[in-house]
Amino acid sequence: MPKSKRQKNLTLLLAGLLFILGVASIVLGFMGKAQVDFFSRRLNMTTEEWVEYAQGKPVPELTDSDYKGRNLTESGKQKKALQEYIDKLTDFDHFIMPARYVLVGVGIALSLLGAFLLVRREIWPLVTVTALLFYLFFLIYPLASLLKLAIVNNDGTITYEYFQRMFSRAYYTNAIWHSVLISSVVTVAAVLIATPMAYIMSTTVIRGAGFLQILILVSSMSAPFIGAYAWIQLAGRNGVITNLLASVGIKLGDIYGFKGCVIVMSFQLYSLVFMFIQGAFKSLDASLIEASESLGCVGLRKVFKVVLPLLLPTILAGALLVFMRAFADYGTPMLIGENYITLPVLVYKEFFSEIGGSTGLAAAVSVIAIIITATMFLVQKYIVSRKVFSISALRPVEKKKVHGWRNTLAHLYCYIMVGIAIMPQCYVIFNSFRNTSGRMFAKGFSLNSYKEAFKMVSRSIWMTYLLAGISIVCIVILAYLFSYVIVRRRNILNATVDIMSMFPEMVAGSILGFALLTSFNKRPLLLSGGMFIMVLSYTLRRLPYTVRSSSAILRNIPMSIEEASISLGASGAKTFWAVTMPMMAPGVISGAILSWITIITELSTSIMLYTTNTKTMTLEIYSQVIRGNDGVASAISAILTFSTIIALALFFKVSGKKEISM
């Protein structure tokens, strides 16, 4: 007789407990490590030294030599601080700090053992539980503590003071207004640029259309603020175009502020709408257009009466995505906005400013921002789900050759718009090869900037790839597991996992960074200030996209493939490993590659969470720009752009697709 059901359940429970214990132990270990790093950095001593003191090694008494007159010397201050820190430590700290490596080690061993026991049964309930705990701890808790910060006073009473203060001061209300205004104008501008272009490129033959496509893709995938930076170099106060025009007597207006933000964002983000509409055109049946022509509706009338109404849901969906991106952008308004402050900038300033800043106010502003972005996100999802024509076309719209002035106009429009969009990238790459002397550009070309970049900031280059690499590994593993339970084990808990995994998309990057920072900034939940929290934020932010692309491919794999494997004697785990995972790979990997690109080009979360040890390329570009070190900034930007292009090429190779869906 096989083991009784009760016995089986007991083993399952035990294995689950072992696993959860193991994971908890790993988290504790990381917390210990974060604490050790935190204190030893503050005290300027090695981690080993600090741990020795923490474990009870007597702190050296303050001696006369530690005083200079009546004041403490540096070494004296350090001894005093050391004593203070040690007095603050609790039993919990005494336990986790020295035991940090042991905890991680034991944790890994326990969770592996638990996982192994479970794999021999059924691992999916465990994945569900882990996923829920993961989101509870790393998403719900941070967002809840953000809300708490916004409505709870220091003394623990509920207050609306922060909201009142926020709404009563123009400085804050303006930031909200600025954000909404910029996002709206950018959205309209992006739609106005993209719609004609998508229409032209889908219905007429444009020479070099393939090349234009690639340029559009590259400009859409590049780091947003690099565009801002390049525009400043081109049309800023001392920009190339500004000076050129000034030399012939034309005085160009100011590019900074609202105008600058709109120009930069519109030309970066219109590509999203373009790709949406182009996708919709592929599923538009040519006979619809022909029917309209045969009924006497031609030319612009046809466009407005037939084509645009059919495309409207798609355009709206793309437009709302543009709104979200523009709203969440931190780098662009920071660089080119100058005194035109938007919400993400406000949160950053309010939280980090040495004087006058208020965490409560920053939290209140964040809550408003989340409400706006979440609303936009839900409206967008609603529109996409109601997309009118999702049937694929029997006969897609054919591209026709047009002649004469129409042809010229069509080509001019496409080339000029794409040209403006890609110009900043090209200019930055061009600059990166220019000769430099000191911080200034000099005549001729050289690789000086690159040499300089590698000399100064090679650490952040490798750090970027390292962080993005670790994040992608986490994303791939979690995407496999989460999408499997979401698609194959439908129940209320896994539906919750589904919703949770999409949730970070509704929150602007800098707000999520802020939430993580405020919740994991204090002992005993001290996780900030290391790679862990950076990887965590990247993983949270990019998981939705990858889970979506993985789920989509899993839904297309018939259940009987897995059943076939099981009936051939493979266990559930073996089936997942040998059959399901390889079949899901194209969806997961292509999702991961796009995520990798967004991670290496992302700024808004990183700027909230980084320390000098975890500075990424985008942060480095940002600080080099601020310092006026244009050569190095250009060189790092160019490296980023090249990385993006290579990753994109890889994406197309792996996915076998010809376009990207957002």
Partner: protein, 367 residues
């Protein structure tokens, strides 16, 4: 090593929705056994209960004397062939077939030998190193079959394996399946809704409807002596007519007054209203003035070997008749004829249709 399979009082339900109320059945060792029925009758559900992909809410299923209810599907030693082939698209034909053997941790050279042998048996050796996407549907189904039998399973389960193939390939494949099953001698349960396919391959067939087994018998017995009207109508085509049974006089009295001598009643049959089921080929067309049921020819279809007539009986019902085509001309539309029947072939059922009162019905579900 093949086994016999015993189903004992099996219950299957989803929530409160009962799919199979109480099913008992014995499948013999080495037998080619078919579950036949309309879609939604529970045949695939039952098959998946054997495979372990559906839970069993009541009763037991045993292989020989071992109850398998709580055995994990991967431990049941089952070969399964699916409707959509379910060939692993990321593995070559060889890797597909070797998959089950690798799970059993056999030595590499033995795996190679057995795979080669089975690929020969199902005649796909030449495609061994191809990926499935470059194979036709029939070839993919051969891979699926090879993959299922190479592990020498105790039981081979096939879930409508031919329904995705075109008509010609279907006939070719069903002959191949039959031949291969006989040569390896594995107990096989085959699910289909196609009665012709079922007759062609099976040793025995269970006809199912609404989760209940209606009749278990050999194809010949099922066709000639169906246990109830549902089976008679589902297997082949039947014309049903009302009549009165007069067992004392060995007669069937039709509503039109025609009396047919009939001595095939079971012993317990009584004088009562009955339903007479006559297959199209069991009618005899005679001149109008001969004794029989009068009928008017509505239309005819010439099919080469046979000619089919659609007629209206004098009782008002329509009926279908099949006659071997003769060299003389086809009976023209509008002609009135007289119909008699091949009385040793026809079947008589109770007026509710749920029981045959004809002698010679065999039902061996072996509950």
């Amino acid at each position: 090593m093949s086994v016999n399979i015993t189903f004992k009082n099996n219950l299957k339900k989803y929530g409160n929705n009962v799919i199979i109320p109480n099913l008992s059945l014995k499948v013999r060792k080495g037998e080619f056994f078919t579950l036949l029925g309309p879609s939604g009758c529970g045949k695939t559900t039952l098959l998946r209960m054997v495979a372990g992909f559906n839970t069993i809410e009541g009763g037991t299923i045993s292989f020989n004397d071992t109850v398998i209810n709580d055995m994990r599907p991967d431990k049941r030693n089952i070969g399964m062939v699916f409707q959509n082939y379910a060939v692993f698209p990321h593995m070559t034909v060889r890797a597909n077939v070797a998959f089950g053997l690798k799970n059993r941790r056999l030595p590499a050279d033995e795996i190679r030998q057995r795979v080669d042998k089975i690929l020969d048996t199902v005649r796909i050796s030449e495609y061994a190193d191809r990926l499935p996407e470059r194979l036709s549907g029939g070839q993919q189904q051969r891979v699926a079959l090879a993959r299922a039998i190479v592990i020498e399973p105790d039981v081979l389960l096939m879930d409508e394996p031919l329904s995705n193939l075109d008509a010609k390939l279907r006939i070719e494949m069903r002959n191949a399946i039959r031949e291969i099953q006989k040569s390896v001698g594995i107990t096989t349960i085959y699910v289909t809704h196609d009665q012709e396919e079922a007759m062609a391959v099976s040793d025995r067939i269970a006809v199912m409807d609404k989760g209940v087994i209606q009749h278990v018998a050999t194809p010949k017995s099922l066709y000639q002596r169906p246990a109830n009207l549902f089976v008679a109508n589902f297997i082949g085509h039947s014309n049903t007519m009302e009549a009165k049974a007069v067992p004392q006089e060995n007669k069937l009295r039709f509503s039109t007054g025609y009396e047919l001598p009939f001595d095939n009643f079971v012993r317990e049959a009584e004088e009562d209203d009955v339903l007479v089921s006559v297959r199209p080929e069991e009618f005899i067309i005679q001149e109008e003035d001969k004794p029989g049921i009068r009928a008017k020819v509505l239309s005819s279809v010439f099919l080469g070997l046979n000619t089919t007539y659609f007629v209206r009986l004098e009782s008002g019902e329509t009926a279908q008749i099949i006659e071997e085509s003769s060299i003389s001309s086809i009976i023209p539309e509008g002609t009135t004829v007289s119909l008699s029947m091949k009385r040793e072939k026809i079947n008589v059922f109770t007026s509710s249709g749920d029981r045959s009162i004809t002698k010679g019905v065999m039902d061996d579900a072996e509950k």
